[in-house]
């Protein structure tokens, strides 16, 4: 059947479909404005993954030079935006009422306890509602506390009397070296690979591209056949000599071209505005093409079993919702439970994001993402055959 498809007939369908898009100015505007706008919006939204300027409360009930030194260190911590309150304030546990996400109290006698060999812990109230914030804020406070501790130690060593130094000189060399080593903070020398500047935007770029494309292609495509059915033109289409394959390919072509154009716009915004580097363009293009075909096929499939455009939109939303959450577009999948990770594998966006990152960030060889390409290609094939099959069912 495929062999006898007429190029002219496909062209007629494609041109007609293009005219529908072109004449519907709202859709046209949506297609031209939304993708770059979304890219800018999402790009800036995800530009910085670090937490900064979290509103926090600081109550000092131990006014000593030592606590002043600590406060001067912790107020330089960019994670927080501290609001210092007088010692008399007692509602430090009411985070919501104070419009903060953390509150730190320096209790009376804290500096004395540090000097007396029995350091008191600092009470820290944390907003644990979203399960991420509390850990990050605690880490921020601990870091400042560590810096403070190191400074205090250096000062102590600096001010040791000469007698102690002389005594120390009597220790065997290897023990002395161990002491020096122990006095230093042991560290790692991190070499960050694949995204050395740790810019989150580079990680989410494929997510943004995929999200926009999936959203537009699936919903617009889903409406095409449903619209003809609603308008009664589908029967008119069916009584022509058009073959199902010609209808399916013809309907898809304009959207494929438009989506290709959108990819160029979105990558241009990502590359020029956000300075996201792109690598191996031909492979990225191939991944995009397969993903597009897969998404268009899905839209077509939804279209073929929806009776009205409203239904088509509803089906699209039901499909797209889990995709956005579970496809790994904006957060890594490897932390998800195993069953859900398997579930995520059925979404084209999952494979698109993985393959895209492997090519563009990891600069990996074909072997690493070959399976993803195959899955996307299979997805495209299955959805198109499925849509053609469903169209046959409409006839009967």
């Amino acid at each position: 059947m495929i062999g006898s498809l007429s190029f002219h007939a496909i062209g007629s369908v494609a041109y007609k479909e293009f005219l529908h898009i072109y004449r519907d100015r709202r859709i046209l505007l949506l297609l031209l404005i939304l993708p770059p706008l979304f890219t800018l919006l999402f790009g800036h939204a995800f530009e910085n993954a670090d937490r900064t300027d979290t509103p926090a409360l600081l109550i000092n009930r131990d006014p000593t030079p030592k606590t002043d030194r600590f406060i001067s260190i912790i107020t330089k911590n960019k994670t927080f935006k501290w609001r210092q309150e007088p010692a008399s304030k007692t509602d430090e546990a009411d985070l919501l009422g104070n419009h903060v996400q953390a509150s730190l109290v320096i209790p009376a006698g804290w500096s004395d306890s540090l000097a007396s060999g029995d350091p008191k812990p600092l009470p820290l109230y944390l907003d644990g509602a979203d399960t991420n914030t509390a850990d990050a804020l605690e880490g921020g406070v601990l870091k400042s506390l560590g810096d403070f501790q190191l400074g205090e130690r250096d000062q102590l060593v600096e001010n040791l009397p000469d007698v102690v130094i002389d005594l120390g000189r009597k220790l065997p060399v290897d023990v002395r070296k161990q002491f020096v080593s122990l006095m230093e903070t042991w560290s790692v020398k991190s070499i960050v690979l694949y995204n050395p500047k740790a810019r989150f935007i580079e990680y989410v770029t494929p997510g943004i591209i995929g999200l926009i494309l999936q959203l537009l292609t699936v919903t617009l495509m889903a409406c095409t056949i449903a619209r003809e059915r609603e308008a009664g033109t589908l029967y008119q289409l069916m009584v022509t000599s058009l073959k199902r394959g010609e209808i399916v390919i013809g309907k898809m072509l304009p959207y494929l071209v438009i989506s290709g154009f959108l990819i160029v716009i979105v990558t241009a915004v990502a590359g020029l505005h956000f300075k996201v580097p792109f690598h191996n363009y031909p492979m990225v293009a191939l991944i995009c093409l397969l993903f597009l075909l897969c998404s268009l096929g899905l839209g077509l499939l939804i279209s073929a079993f929806s009776k009205t455009q409203t239904q088509a939109i509803q089906f699209s939303v039901f499909f797209l919702l889990p995709v956005f959450v579970l496809s790994g577009a904006f957060a890594p999948l490897d932390q998800l439970p195993k069953v859900i990770r398997y579930f995520a594998e059925i979404f084209p966006l999952t494979h698109f994001c993985r393959a895209f990152r492997l090519v563009n960030m990891y600069r990996a060889g074909l072997g690493f993402y070959f399976v993803d390409l195959v899955v996307l290609a299979l997805g495209a094939l299955i959805t198109f055959v499925g849509a053609a099959f469903l169209l046959k069912r409409i006839e009967e």
Partner: protein
């Protein structure tokens, strides 16, 4: 060219327990304007959709130019154009774009398409509207455009599903003039309608009632199938008489025509004689009587109401019956 453009052979369609079309067998010769008549829900559209290969027959089959309408629908479709009941062209495309699309979809070669489009634009009188979106055309022009698009691949057969419903008389006339031109060119026209005056314009008429074919013959033959002329009475006042007479013994039905009462009765002469002797309605004044030839509306009433006693019992009005095959299965008249 085969003897018949369309041949139906025990064509039936049921939706679940409902039989929409029951055992249709007849054929239509080339050049005929076949009027497919019936009330709403009689099965006209279902039959037409089966013939167009849009829904498959539950049993039986049909062929267009020798191609099975279901199994060879791709080939059959090249032989006909279809004008749906609902306007079903693309309203956002212009007249010309609609022509071009359906031409391309029907595999008309580009050079040929140009010629045909110009001819059809003249034919349908749409030249001035060439660049107007189809959605902004008036109802009549839309219908002309739909006919034009259905003809773009120059098919020998044209299906029209109630092409004039909702149109004003001027546009109705325009559509019919177009159909006559097409018929004159040798094209076969299959048109459903429930306007009786349109039935008169067809060269052959099939009556469908509850999915069964009640009659199939040229309009003249159908009118001749009445045993007698029909009795028409002028009375005053009309309405009370109309309501009362319907229930009188010996009366099958009464209809109002141009202010006169048309009486359907098995033995109208006897009835009139009796009424003249003994006028049954005290408050109604008898003015005069008249004998009239039945028209298509009478034919439709007689067939659809099952007034068998009005019709000649030996009448053989079925084209299919002449062709025999399964003639016995073809309900010729009043098989209810």
């Amino acid at each position: 060219m085969p003897d018949s453009v369309i041949v139906l052979n025990h064509l039936s369609k049921s939706f679940g327990a409902v039989d929409a079309v029951k055992d249709l067998s007849f054929s239509i010769a080339p050049g005929v304007i076949f009027g497919f008549l019936g009330a709403n829900g009689a099965g006209k559209t279902t039959t037409m959709r089966m013939l167009c290969g849009l829904t498959h027959p539950s049993s039986g089959n049909a062929a267009i130019m020798g191609h099975d309408v279901w199994k060879q629908r791709q080939r059959a479709r090249a032989c006909f154009g279809y004008v749906a009941q609902r306007f079903s062209l693309y309203p956002d495309l212009t007249v010309e774009e609609n022509f071009r699309f359906f031409g391309g979809a029907s595999r008309v070669a580009p050079a040929e398409l140009e010629k045909r489009m110009q001819r059809l634009l003249r034919y349908t009188d749409l030249i001035k509207k060439q660049n107007t979106p189809a959605g902004s055309l008036s109802g009549g022009m839309r219908q002309l455009l739909a006919v034009g698009c259905a003809l773009i691949h120059d098919p020998p057969l044209l299906f029209l599903d109630e092409p004039t419903s909702g149109l004003d008389p001027v546009h109705r006339q325009q559509i019919w003039d177009l159909l006559y031109d097409l018929s004159n060119e040798g094209k076969t026209i299959f048109v459903t309608t429930h306007y009786m005056d349109e039935a008169e314009r067809c060269t052959e008429v099939g009556f469908l009632e509850s999915g069964r074919l009640l009659a199939n013959a040229p309009p003249r033959d159908l009118k001749l199938s009445f045993r007698t002329k029909l009795l028409e009475l002028d009375v005053d006042p009309v309405m009370p008489a109309l309501v009362q007479f319907r229930t009188y013994p010996g009366v099958l039905g009464v209809s109002l025509r141009s202010g006169s009462l048309r009486i359907y009765a098995p033995d109208p002469e006897n009835l009139l004689a009796n009424w003249k002797k003994n006028w049954p309605a005290r408050d109604v004044r008898f003015l005069r009587e008249r004998w009239v030839e039945p028209d298509m509306e009478d034919v439709f009433t007689a067939y659809s109401q099952g007034y068998d006693s009005l019709l000649k019992s030996d009448g053989n009005h079925s084209v299919a019956a002449e062709k025999d095959d399964a003639a016995s299965a073809v309900p010729v008249k009043g098989v209810r």
